[in-house]
């Protein structure tokens, strides 16, 4: 598959450097944007003088190369992944991946800290009046999860899934959260996180979205 700038596909490079140097992060201006919102994405931790290769959509094709740390991106409805690759003197030295989920009524994102164990915080944010928010988070095969803060939710932790539901209503801009620890099966293990958040809109109808934010750990 050809890429638009005629260089090595970003995904291959990104996978090649995972776990080597984890210095760069993508920080969006809004973690729970509305669809059509123009965001500022900032690659923090990239060395000066490096080129940043941006892939909007996570399809492995570089959409933009920037010399500065900030770019703008218009969020589409639903989930899209953004990958940035740091290239210095023609060599990919670092990368970061972020899921951006844009929905009019519900937002959810994941924040990851540490590496062994990894502390994950999931925040569910109401963007409209919703009822019974909940999340379902997959546990990577071989990894172990320990819930350290249920945030007031009913939860069920099984070997492969965490399910949690909050028996309450959330008004606009209110949020609930929970935190858990992830233990890798072996030092240096890398995993991809996957989960969804859901709720019922007060005016009716079920809402379900992907959980945005960090998707690769550590």
């Amino acid at each position: 598959m050809l890429h638009k700038l005629g260089i090595v596909p970003l995904a291959l490079l990104a996978y090649a450097v995972w776990g080597l140097a984890g210095g760069v992060d993508i920080v969006p201006s809004d973690l729970t944007p509305l669809p059509g919102t123009e965001l500022t994405l900032r690659a923090e931790g990239a060395p000066s003088g490096a080129s940043l290769y941006w892939d909007f959509g996570g399809d492995g094709i570089v959409d933009l190369v920037s010399q500065g740390p900030e770019v703008t991106y218009t969020a589409r409805a639903g989930c899209q992944e953004v990958v940035v690759q740091v290239v210095q003197e023609g060599v990919a030295i670092d990368s970061a991946r972020l899921a951006i989920v844009a929905d009019e009524r519900l937002g959810a994102f994941r924040i990851v800290k540490g590496c062994d164990p990894i502390e994950v915080t999931i925040i569910v944010r109401a963007k409209a009046h919703i009822v019974a928010p909940g999340i379902e988070e997959s546990i990577p095969p071989g990894w172990t999860m320990e819930l350290i803060d249920d945030g007031g939710a009913f939860y069920k932790l099984k070997s492969d899934t965490l399910q949690a539901v909050w028996p309450l209503e959330l008004w606009t801009r209110c949020e609930v959260s929970l935190r858990y620890l992830l233990y890798p099966p072996a030092p240096g293990a890398v995993a991809r996180l996957h989960g969804s958040a859901s709720a019922y809109a007060a005016e009716g109808g079920r809402i379900e979205i992907r959980i945005g934010g960090s998707v690769i750990v550590p």
Partner: protein
Amino acid sequence: MVRKISLWALAAVLTALPLYAQGYFSVKQGAVQVAIEPLVGTVSAEEFYGYDAAQASTTCPLAEPGVTVMFLYRDPAEQLYLFIIHGQAGGPDNSSAQFSIQGVPPGADFIVQDDPVGWDPNDIYDIVGGQLAWVWAPARTDGGVLGPLGTEFKLTLTPGIMTGIQKVVFKYGDIASPQSVELNLTDPIEIQGMKGQPPVASLVVTPTEPRARQEITFDASGSYDPDGQIVEYRWDFDGDGVVDLSSTEPVVRYTYSSGGSYDVQLTLVDDVGITTTHTYPLYVSTVTVIVTRSISTTTAMPGYTFRVTVRIHTDQDLVGAGLEEDIPAGWEITPVENGGAVFKRPTIQWVFLDVIRAGTDRVITYDLTVPKSELLDTIRLPQPFCISGVFQVKVPDIVVDVGGESCVVVDDCLSVLEAITHMVVADPNTPGSQDKIDLRLSETITAAQLARAGELWRTERPVIGTCGERIDLETLKLAVAYAKACVPIDRPLPDMPMANVSAHRTIRAPIPCEGVVIGFYDPQGQPLGNKFTVKVEISTDKDVLGVGLDEDLPVGWRVTPIENDGFIYKASDNQWALLDTLGAGETREIIYEVEVPPTTTIEAPPPDGCLVLASEMIAGRVDTGHPCVETEVAGQNRVDLTDCLSVITAISRWDVTRDAINLSLSDKITFQQVQRAIAFWLQDEVVPRTCGAGKVTFELMKEIVARWLTDTPICEPLPGAVPDICEGR
């Protein structure tokens, strides 16, 4: 239905030996039994005996020289006495007599002693010890008078050593000219007095000249009891004193294993226990030639051919033997197997030119064709026709009637069972092939015939040869019993131990704790929730032949078999039949699905706080062909019906994707359903398609969360839960 008629009944020569019980007293010794009347006198017993102390003799006019005379004597006071008079001896020696005596009634004693004990120490009158003895000189007598005896007694006098006495004579009747019965000096003499009259025996033995290993009919149906009824017949066929058979019916059959002379003893017992024993001397020939006829059908149709087989068995060599059969006029005979004999058609005779050796069998087989209908116009059907036959031998000189089956009934139609056993099953691989009737086939049902019968039953098609009759479940089970027992249908089925057959029904509703729901449809518009499954387990502790299950469901409910486990299913009647043996300890499972019409109207249940649903019942019965056992199907029989769901059921069936009821979902509550329930609860929203208020209450919300967390299906109690007050309602 057995239509054959034995010729024995027609050929029997009746032999009646009646006994006339005149009065209420009898004397019996061995085979001799006589009803007697006491002598009635005008003087006292002492006076009638006329003991002459000077001569040590009696003056009684009934005494006889050299004879012991006994009689019962009724005096003017109506008291009864037994006289024993030993007559004068003819020779020069003393005479003596000894008897043991039993059954002396209380209060009776020897009121006359000839001679008194103090006079003659040789004479003994010990009625307590049961010993009597006399010794008397020539020209004198001895004896005594015992009494009074009352009206009910049974004296037994057993002769001991007797010298100078030739016989015992018992006299009865008119005192002026009494009758007498002569008794021997060895066997016990029973003298019985009764209030009631004893039964009167009559015995007819058929055949009159029986042979060993030939079944003999003993018919005592001519017997009667003058003042009551006979309640028991005791049979001692060989006269050895041991009752071989006790029956309440007067006719019995017996076969002697060997020839010889027998004293058949028939004892009749009436309703007050009085007995009469009758002895019938019977000579059973040692020659055992048995000639039996078997006929391949009990019913024949005009124009049809059936098969006759005559089997000759002998235990000794037979020379110059011949068989002659007499068949109905106009019937066509076709010999099939002559058994080594020469057949002469005009006279229907077979002659054996060789010796029929002892221990061998000869079989003669021929077919008989019934005239066509037009030739039978003058006869109203059904009509029995019979064959008679004689087997004759020159050496030894024997004439034997052919026994066994002799008659057939000619009719336009066969019974269903007859038709099955004579059916030539159509070949399914031959186009146009149809069932046929061949009356020459045996009366034992084959596997192919049984299978065909099952198919005809299942499809409700008429059976060939029956004038349109169809097989019902009862007849089918009977056919199974005969087929599996390998017994011809004109014979009784063998005795089998009674079995405990049980059947248990389990009903699995589409929503287990809810029942059948009406008015629910899938996205394609097909009804949902209106089908349920039923499992009936049938078992037995002993073998049974042929099993039927009859399930009675409400009208309009449609059954679809899922698992028949060897049974065949008849849709029109919801019946299942097992054309096989259900073995001891074996269990068969029938599973079927029932569809309740989606248009069924559900009556509103009473609002009593518990979930009470409208319901319908299923009734079922299992019965067997042989032995005949019938039992109701136990277990579940109620089908609940509803057109709305309980709230928790609705939540468990909530399809969050479609946000609608999906009855195909399970009893377990999922995360998404919990989330939906919370939304219903928080928003105080009515859950669609539910009964009553239809809202998720606070209590129910907790229960839903608890069931989700504990993975407990909605119909099962939560761990540690207290039984609900509605449980079992």
